[in-house]
């Protein structure tokens, strides 16, 4: 068992007492848990196929060509058609489809015409389809997952760089501090959006989608780590002059040990309060970039791309913008509530006499 120190336990208990934040946290955790196994709920691949007394679980497996189930084609089985096929033939074979039997990429053009369709639970399109006749719920689910993953990866990278450089600046001071300060001043003046546009125009054509996402992440991190360093620098400066640091140094502790074992835990509260807001800004940024067409490559599902479609079809397909906007508001509100609660529960001012 991890033994938390009493201070932290107190903070956590306080966090639990702030109902709005706590329940937001629970809901967001559930959402994340759901998203991480989204393939089981939203997918064009069947959960279970029972064919000729053999069991198949296609969800996370390699693709099954149609020939495997007695169909006449060698490409990926169309499980929705297969289900119907088995039903029509009255055989012992059966297919269990997920709740939403569509993936985020396939065009399901009803009547052979590609256009947005309103929600249609009977067909399995619970939030309707987008302008390319793709299921909106599927695109929302996978788009949100990408955005959240992106945001967390962004946060971790930014904090890692920010903490290391910020702490070092505060701890070493002097020339090192001065140099980095100037460097950061210049660096933070480079316009971020232009850099993204420039970098995206030189990415080689054969870069795959994960590589593109990684590059986008790198560029965003590269231009976002600076703000964190200043908080860390001041905090470290403050802590450095305290007696317990002097004591540690007298005992003979080395620099890394002092920074990571003594200073860092004491400045953590500042850090933790910033985290949710970093996540919010990362989600907004990636959505905005997608909206402008500089984000994730087509046809990756994303919130920004859905928002863009939605605003372009406000009159004819209001369900697109409603779904995308609703999801964005929900996620951002949850994260913000959590952030507020963390800030409040970690706020040291509660113990001061001024309160």
């Amino acid at each position: 068992m991890i033994k938390l120190n009493p201070q932290t336990r107190k903070k956590l208990a306080r966090f639990q007492k702030i109902k709005l934040g706590y329940f937001s946290f629970v809901i967001l955790s559930l959402i994340i848990a759901f998203l991480s196994v989204a393939e089981l709920f939203v997918n064009s691949r069947a959960l279970i196929v029972h064919y000729e007394d053999t069991w198949y679980f296609p969800t996370y497996a390699d693709f099954h060509p149609g020939t495997e189930f007695g169909l006449d084609y060698t490409y990926e089985t169309d499980y929705r058609a297969l289900k119907q096929h088995f039903l029509d033939n009255n055989s012992n074979n059966w297919v269990l489809m997920p709740l939403v039997p569509f993936n985020a990429y396939e065009n399901d053009a009803t009547g052979g015409i590609m256009k947005p369709r309103p929600p249609d639970p009977e067909r399995g399109h619970y939030l309707g389809t987008d302008t390319t006749s793709r299921d909106i719920l599927a695109r929302l689910v996978y788009g949100t997952r990408t955005a959240l993953m992106f945001a967390f990866a962004f946060m971790v990278s930014v904090y890692l760089i920010g903490i290391v450089i910020g702490c070092a600046m505060g701890y070493f001071g002097g020339w090192f501090d001065l140099m980095f300060q100037r460097l950061i001043e210049i660096w933070s003046n480079v316009p971020f959006l232009y850099m993204v546009i420039i970098v995206f125009s030189v990415i080689p054509a054969d870069a795959s989608i994960p590589i593109r996402i990684f590059l986008l992440l790198s560029v965003m991190v590269l231009f976002s780590w600076t703000s964190m360093t200043y908080y860390m620098r001041t905090e470290t400066y403050k802590e450095k002059s305290r007696d317990y640091i002097a004591a540690a140094r007298v005992i003979g502790a080395g620099t890394p040990r002092i920074i990571f074992r003594h200073i860092l835990p004491n400045v953590l509260s500042t850090l933790v309060t910033f985290m949710p807001f970093t996540v919010v800004s990362a989600i907004s940024a990636i959505t905005a970039l997608d909206f402008l067409g500089f984000g994730l490559p087509v046809p990756t599902p994303s919130l920004g791309e859905l928002l863009k479609q939605g605003t372009a079809n406000l009159r004819t397909a209001p369900w697109i913008v409603t779904a995308a906007f609703g999801t964005l508001v929900l996620i951002l509100t949850l994260v913000t509530f959590i952030g507020e609660a963390i800030r409040e529960s970690f706020d040291p001012k509660q113990f001061t006499l001024y309160r």
Partner: protein, 646 residues
């Protein structure tokens, strides 16, 4: 330390200063001597003769019997608001950044050439020329300019304005290599007989010899006296005197926002037979609105008078026949079938990329792209399959050649020939060594990106993976011009010509620097030639020789046969996947915008191209009142299919 830090910012500021802003400080230039010297240095090209030297046996043609363009019912007046997607970066009509969406307003669609093709019959009706004659023996076209013709500033248009273009378009000052090349290679002489009589010679006779000369537009010699080294900056924002009915007055240009063109009431051609019922609207307000959905909303409010509805999405969903404004007759919908060279929308395969240099792979791709589904789902069956890269040229287009259909079995067979026999874990074909059958499919058409996702989904069934890359228009075009693409979805905008061009797209000279060695073998060190329209890196010696024959041929029969042969060869090489063609255009307009009885013309590219529409102010106030009072008119949804191909 501090002073050093300021340095980069200082440099940055210097880099940003705009040299064009202080035009007054430019040195004075007068190129009169330079131009005259150039004429003298090229006596074989620039010839000066007298009217007595004119051949006597010429057969003069004047096109005056062709029917009028426009309607006698047209009224003059009114203001039309039109959307510009982007503010023009220059008012020059040549040189960098000049070939944008604004240029047609001051050049292509509005200014006058010697004569113009009649949009109904393709014969020439007079413009700046009063009459003309073709002398086949000397490969020369003689032209008599209309003595009444003047520039918008009142200066008469003379033969000198035509001589001048052969200096102007050949100078390096204009930074336009295509113009340099065209005007150096396509003409052999220009002769001035008098101020209003000249002749121009071309290297080879063609079925449309006259078009090579008659479609030339003059340049105002007096305005371009200051052309020199700094041409690009000096003329960046100068509006040139024009032959067009519309002029741009100084204070009518708000940079970044709008441009207002006004009708020149003293336009010299205002009473000429083929021009008098056109260019009817007094003011054309071009407003920059970048976002198309926003333009559509402005149109529905009546702020913008007309809106193109060619995309199915707009015609069927956003402005359906059941729309209240359409049902009440406030907005009219028109669907017009036309006949003209079709832009070859399709996939241009770079045959110099690994794997794509294998003909079996290219053939497999032909069968693995499901264009019929694109036509059915995206275009709702309104478009048709394109069969070759040169459809719409009448007898010059191949009569029987058909694009290969989507067929998974055949695609798999071709891919297997190339060694792709096994499907990987994701269903994409791979070779024994693990090479995946995956290509980047790029495009600069943001509005058509859904087409690419359909192709991607369907291609996967044949074990082919497309990595879709949607770029903005400029970046997309740059990519193919640098020949960096694998497969690119694009089309060329072909102008109205009798027969297709092949050299630009199919000749090896436009594919590689030196495609073949002198003994006819493939040059192992050849490098891709950039900035040309040979997007397939097509280099076949047989094709080259056919193109040379085609360029040298002068009779229509031979050229047709050669054209068919080249299209067949191109089809066999399989480096272009023909996509779709739309044989029509569609328009929505408010009811105060009026069109001639038959709406448009057989060979028109769009309804507004010939400026035959007009504004009826009385109908405008009638409509506004009706809207307020809830009255309605008869709905007008009209399909003009008299020119539809069956």
């Amino acid at each position: 330390m501090k002073p050093h830090l300021f340095l980069p910012f200082l440099l940055f500021l210097i880099g940003c200063s705009d040299p064009s802003s202080d035009e007054a400080s430019l040195p004075t230039i007068d190129n009169t001597a330079e131009v005259e010297a150039y004429y003298e240095a090229n006596p074989d090209f620039f010839k000066f003769k007298t009217l007595d030297d004119l051949p006597q046996d010429l057969t003069w043609v004047d096109g005056s019997d062709l029917s009028e363009v426009g309607s006698p019912n047209a009224l003059k007046g009114g203001t039309e608001t039109v959307r510009l997607a982007d503010f023009p970066r220059t008012l020059r009509t040549v040189g960098p950044d000049s070939n944008g969406s604004f240029r047609p307003w001051i050049l292509d669609d509005t200014s006058m050439a010697m004569a113009h093709r009649h949009p109904e019959s393709l014969s020439y009706y007079p413009g700046l020329a009063r009459r003309w004659a073709v002398d086949e023996a000397s490969k020369t076209v003689f032209v008599e300019l209309d003595p009444e013709a003047t520039w918008s500033d009142g200066v008469p248009i003379t033969a000198d304005d035509y001589l001048f273009i052969f200096w102007f378009f050949r100078t390096s000052y204009i930074t336009a290599p295509w113009y340099n090349n065209w005007y150096e290679s396509q003409y052999t002489a220009v002769t001035k007989y008098s101020d209003h009589l000249l002749s121009i010679s071309i290297p080879e006779l063609k079925p449309d010899t006259d078009s090579k000369v008659l479609e030339l537009r003059p340049l105002p010699r007096h305005f371009y006296r200051e052309v020199g080294e700094d041409f690009l900056e000096r003329y960046q924002w100068r509006f040139a005197p024009t032959t067009a009915a519309y002029v741009l007055k100084d204070d009518n240009l708000v940079k970044g926002r709008s441009i207002r063109l006004t009708r020149n009431k003293d336009w010299w051609a205002k009473d000429k037979k083929h021009w008098r019922y056109r260019f009817n609207i007094d003011n054309i307000n071009l407003v920059v609105i970048r976002d198309t959905p926003k333009v559509f909303e402005a149109f529905k409010r009546g702020d913008i008078d007309q809106f193109g509805l060619t995309l199915a999405e707009y015609w069927y969903d956003k402005l359906p026949d059941s729309d209240p404004a359409v049902r009440a007759g406030y907005i009219e919908k028109k669907w017009f079938y036309n006949v003209r060279p079709r832009p070859p929308y399709g996939l241009w395969i770079n045959s110099d990329q690994p794997l794509l240099d294998d003909q079996n792979i290219r053939l497999g791709i032909q069968h693995a792209t499901h264009w019929q589904l694109v036509i059915d789902q995206f275009f709702r069956g309104d478009a048709e399959r394109l069969n070759t890269a040169n459809d719409g040229y009448g007898p010059y287009s191949h009569p029987t050649l058909r694009a290969r259909p989507f067929d998974i079995t055949q695609a798999l067979a071709y891919f297997a020939e190339a060694g792709f026999t096994e499907r990987g874990p994701d269903g994409i074909l791979q070779r024994a060594d693990g090479t995946r059958l995956a290509f980047t499919l790029s495009s600069g058409y943001e509005a058509l990106k859904d087409i690419l996702t359909i192709l991607k989904e369907e291609g996967a069934k044949a074990g082919l993976e497309f990595r879709v890359e949607v770029l903005d228009a400029t970046a997309g075009w740059k990519k193919v011009q640098e020949k960096q693409h694998e497969l690119h979805f694009s089309a060329f905008g072909y102008s109205l010509e009798l027969y297709p061009r092949f050299w630009e797209t199919f000749h090896s000279a436009n594919a590689y620097d030196k495609a073949f060695l002198d003994n006819g073998e493939v040059n192992p060190d050849r490098s891709r030639k950039t900035q040309t329209n040979n997007l397939e890196l097509l280099a076949i010696p047989e094709m080259d020789s056919l193109i040379n024959q085609y360029r040298a041929a002068s009779d229509a029969e031979t050229m047709m046969a050669l054209s068919h042969e080249m299209n067949q060869l191109h089809h066999d090489y399989a480096s272009f996947v023909p996509g779709f063609q739309t044989g029509f255009f569609r328009l929505g307009h408010w009811r105060w915008i009026r069109y001639p009885e038959h709406f448009s013309y057989k060979h028109a590219a769009g309804a507004t191209q010939h400026f035959v529409h007009w504004i009826d102010e009385s109908r405008k106030s009638e409509t506004t009142q009706a809207k307020q009072g809830g009255d309605s008119f008869a709905a007008q949804v009209i399909v003009y299919d008299q020119h539809r191909a069956r």
